[in-house]
Symmetry: C2
Subunit: 106 residues, 2 copies
DNA sequence: TATTATCGTTCACCAATTGAACGCAGCATA
DNA sequence: TATGCTGCGTTCAATTGGTGAACGATAATA
């Protein structure tokens, strides 16, 4: 399934590196090739990216995954939501760490 | 599967509340009853806890899940490892937040 | 005794994920 | 030209992980 997390991560990777293979993307995000393929299809389906045929200078022949205007919008929105989420996680983590420190003392 | 995270969380709950039902444990850890049952079995298998028959004052008839000496040791070790892990996560999170802030600016 | 409530256990079912296998395209070498 | 190699996207059978309804057992209660 395509969670917010992977939607964000994939859009981010593609934005800064549109010519990237699905295999490479899988490595970077530490997920399987199948999942990458599935997520990309979903993103195309939603109109957030489009895949253009593309011949690399080397022996590659693949796609260029470009963010559509809608994709760019979505990515901004996701980034903001992500920041908020991470701030909450940060706060929770500090409490957890404090609790662990207390526990280690015992 | 029994991850470090759940090994830690379960040992912690059991230590401070040995008479607890699997259902209650499932609620607290927000996992299914089946998973709790599976994890408890695994912990018993590893000799980290033992289940003693136990008659509650109320109408309950269940087990008392007691940490073995080995279980207590393991829990201390897990706690320390967990603290270390959380400190790393904390650091990573701060970087991520900083990065997100930069990104939001753009 | 019959009923109710809670216990641990089980397991068929579902959803998510994996990665080997495939066909295709481009390049390099014989 | 033909052959082999590499990397591409795509597919899908197989595995894994998680779920919770259902079950039998036990103890309190009516």
């Amino acid at each position: 399934m395509l969670t917010d997390e992977y939607r964000y991560k994939i859009l981010k990777e593609l934005q800064q590196d549109p010519d990237i293979s699905q295999r490479e993307l899988a490595k970077r995000l530490d997920i399987s090739l199948g999942k990458v393929n599935f997520c990309l299809k979903a993103l195309i389906e939603k109109g957030l990216i489009k895949a253009e045929n593309f011949k690399n200078s080397t022996n590659k022949m693949g796609y260029l995954y470009l963010l559509t205007p809608k994709g760019i919008e979505e990515k901004v929105s996701l980034t903001q939501r992500f920041l908020q989420r991470k701030l909450k996680e940060h706060e929770a983590l500090e409490k957890e760490i404090e609790q662990l420190r207390q526990e280690v003392k015992t």
